[in-house]
Every structure is written in C-alpha cells, then in structure tokens.
C-alpha cells in the first residue's frame, strides 16, 4: 500500500488524491463512505439513489481534488458539500416522498433536543450554542433543510406551517445564526 494512503487526515488524503493517488482515494472511501452515504440516504431516501450519489461524489472527488486546499482543515466539510450537492440535485431531478416521521425510514420527529446531538467538535459546539438561541420554528426549519434536504415548500408540507412563515423563519434564523457565529 502506498505510504500516502496510510495517513488518515481527511484533508491530507484529499490532497494526495489531487496528486493522482488511487490508494489515497480508497483510504478516503474507507474512512468516509459510511458517513457520506448516511448523509445522502437521509436526503434521497432510496438506497439505490444514495449509492449512485456516493459513486458520483467519489468520482468527482477524484477529478477535482486538485482544486482543494486544506487551509482550514475543512476536508470533511468539502466532502459533505459535494455529497449534499449531488443528493439535492438527484432529489430535484427524481423527486421523492416527503419524510413523515417514519422511524423505519430513518425519520425522526424533530424534537428540540435534536440540537443536543450535533457532534462534539469545537465548531459543533459553537453551532449548537447559536442554534439554541433561535426559536423553535427557526431551529426546525434549518435542521430540516440541511439534514433532510427539504425545500421551502417541502418543509411547509412536513411541519404544516404556511410557506411565508417557513421562509421568514429560515431567513431570520440565518441572520441570527450569522450574528452569533461571528462573535
């Protein structure tokens, strides 16, 4: 196995992929595929579509890794961005059912304590603290949009609130989040 691929930092691996190392891509897949597949599945809700999203995303990582630079240690976020982008694109093209709090499909009712379960990094700590300052409607809309990949109108349907309220919750939630995160 090539020495580069023995390293485990995601950013370092992406840079190695950018230099054309297939072993680094394989290692990246071993480290990140479960996390990324989970993100895609939650959005597209069909295993075969999620698998295609993951495949396309890794091919894209292979082709575009050279434009990545690991300045801020943001390798995981870069990968998440690619997978979410592809998953959202698949949903816009293929459509999907609106999640309905069905635990068998990985749905969970959006409870206030969902915010507590955001991971443990320093960045997650800041986001959690700032999300907790938002009111419940704003929190729910932002989580449903990011995690489930729902559009304005899908959120409307899911939480049975008027479109105008959903748009304004997201808007005001984003403004408040930004103010808090920039402090």
């Amino acid at each position: 196995m090539d020495r580069i691929a023995a390293l485990s930092s995601v950013g370092v691996l992406i840079e190695a992929v950018g230099r054309g190392s297939p072993a680094a891509l394989k290692r990246l897949y071993e480290l990140e595929s479960r996390r990324l597949y989970g993100i895609a599945l939650r959005i597209v809700r069909r295993p075969e579509v999620a698998a295609d999203v993951l495949q396309d995303a890794f091919v894209q990582v292979w082709q575009n890794a050279a434009v990545f630079s690991d300045e801020r240690g943001a390798g995981a976020a870069w990968l998440t961005g690619i997978v979410r982008f592809r998953a959202l694109d698949a949903v816009r093209k293929l459509g999907r059912e609106i999640p309905s709090d069905d635990p068998a499909l990985g749905d969970e009712p959006i409870e206030p304590d969902v915010i507590e379960r955001i991971g443990a990094s320093t960045q997650a700590e800041a986001l959690r603290r700032c999300l907790q300052l938002l009111d419940e409607g704003q929190q729910r809309c932002i989580v449903l949009a990011f995690v489930d990949g729902l559009s304005h109108s899908e959120i409307t349907e899911r939480i049975k609130a008027p479109l105008g309220s959903v748009k304004s919750w997201i808007r005001r939630g984003l403004l408040a989040l930004r103010e808090c995160l920039e402090q």
């Binding site: 595929s33 698998a51 434009v67 995981a76 961005g81 982008f85 592809r86 990985g106 955001i118 990094s121």
Partner: protein
C-alpha cells in the same frame, strides 16, 4: 438577481447551502460564484459553519460493490490538474462533470456531424446547475468546432464568449466571441485544448470581455476529454 446588500447576500448564501432554493435560483447562485468573491466567501462561511449538522444523519453501510464501481470509473477519468484564482471555484467544478451519462447521446451526434478522420477531443458544455447538454465542442488536428444544441441566445447587448483553460494553467484564455449563429470554428486547434482542459462560456459585452479575463457569469462549462 444577486443582492449587493451584505445582509441579503448572506441570507441568499445560507439558503443556497441549506438547499432550499429551487433549481433556477440555485443555478443563478452557482453561476455568480465564479465572479463574486463576497458571495463565494458567504457560501464558504455557511458550508463550514453548518457542516456539524450533517452529524444528525446516521452513518450507514453503502451497498456492496459501490467501491468497485468507483474504482472502475476512475480508471477512465483522469484527475484534473489544479487551477487557481478565478477558476478555483469548487462549485463550478462540481458541475463541470455532472451528467457523463448524457455524453453518450452527444457522442452519437458528434459521430454524425464529423468526418471519421477528424477530431479526437469532445466537450459537452452545460449550465452549471443542470444536466442538459447545451453546447458540444469537437476538436482535432484541423481545429475546433463548437455548436449550440439549445439555440440559447445571450441577453440583449451581450455576447457569449468562449474560454479555455489548459490542464495545469492558471488562466482562462479567450477563444473568441461566439457568433449569433451559435456556431464557431477555430483553426488551427488552440494549444490549450487537450485532454483535461476545460471550456467555459461567459456572458460579456458585445465584442468580448474588455479585460482578457471573464467579467460576466459563467453560464456553461464542460471538460475536454479524449474520444
């Protein structure tokens, strides 16, 4: 319209990263990223800061065979060399490779319109956020032919300008303003055009960009590959 007001710009960038915009709105943002550094930095802010929310999706085992499928595909697709500055824009690159499946249809068209001894490269250009092929470029020893598939017209008093970035190059180079007919031939073959290069079309003043670099939004983009 991309707002100039910083607050509105940040909201739009946040909505873009959350994924609540419809395809047309999101496409507008993607296209504007290439030329709007404030928008780019606002999008980066949200991508980084909202990323911890992705831990709320439970990890799951991908179906067996997924890695093998990826491995088979990367043997055919060479990694792109790094490009910087204007082109160092992840979102544009994300879309540059979308929809290889549609390339098969375009390839059939290419075979129909070109002599057998001719071109050895082909590029399919699409709007950054869409899968629909809009232009096809074929190139070989004799030169380059680019042709519109969609009959798209630039806005009034504007023109489509074609750009190439060679593999490993830092700078897009203008290949000229595309005539209103939607078809352009260049001979001999521009040296930037080889496997792994990128072609892009931006909207510019009639007569072309005044700066030797793109000044308007990138509206179509595609990778050059060997046939």
């Amino acid at each position: 319209m991309i707002p100039e007001n910083p607050e509105e710009l940040h909201v739009l960038a946040g909505e873009y990263v959350l994924g609540v915009l419809d395809a047309a709105e999101a496409g507008e943002v993607t296209a504007a990223l290439a030329t709007n550094p404030e928008l780019r930095s606002a999008v980066a802010f949200w991508e980084e800061n909202l990323e911890p929310l992705s831990t709320l999706a439970a990890p799951a085992e991908p179906p067996p065979g997924t890695w093998q499928a990826i491995e088979a595909r990367i043997k055919e697709a060479a990694p792109k060399p790094a490009v910087y500055g204007f082109w160092n824009n992840v979102s544009i690159w994300r879309w540059a490779t979308v929809g290889f499946a549609a390339a098969a249809a375009v390839l059939a068209l290419w075979i129909a319109v070109t002599p057998p001894s001719g071109p050895s490269f082909v590029a399919v250009l699409r709007p950054p956020q869409q899968d629909q092929p809009a232009w096809v470029a074929t190139a070989g020893r004799d030169g380059l032919l680019i042709r519109s598939l969609s009959a798209a017209k630039p806005p009034t008093d504007r023109a489509f300008e074609l750009w190439a970035i060679a593999p490993g190059s830092a700078q897009p180079r203008s290949l000229g303003v595309i005539p209103a007919s939607g078809e352009m031939r260049l001979s001999p073959l521009p040296s930037d055009l080889r496997n792994g290069a990128t072609l892009a079309i931006s909207i510019e003043p009639t007569g072309g960009s005044p700066t030797q670099q793109p000044t308007g939004p990138i509206v179509y983009v595609g990778s050059v590959g060997t046939v």
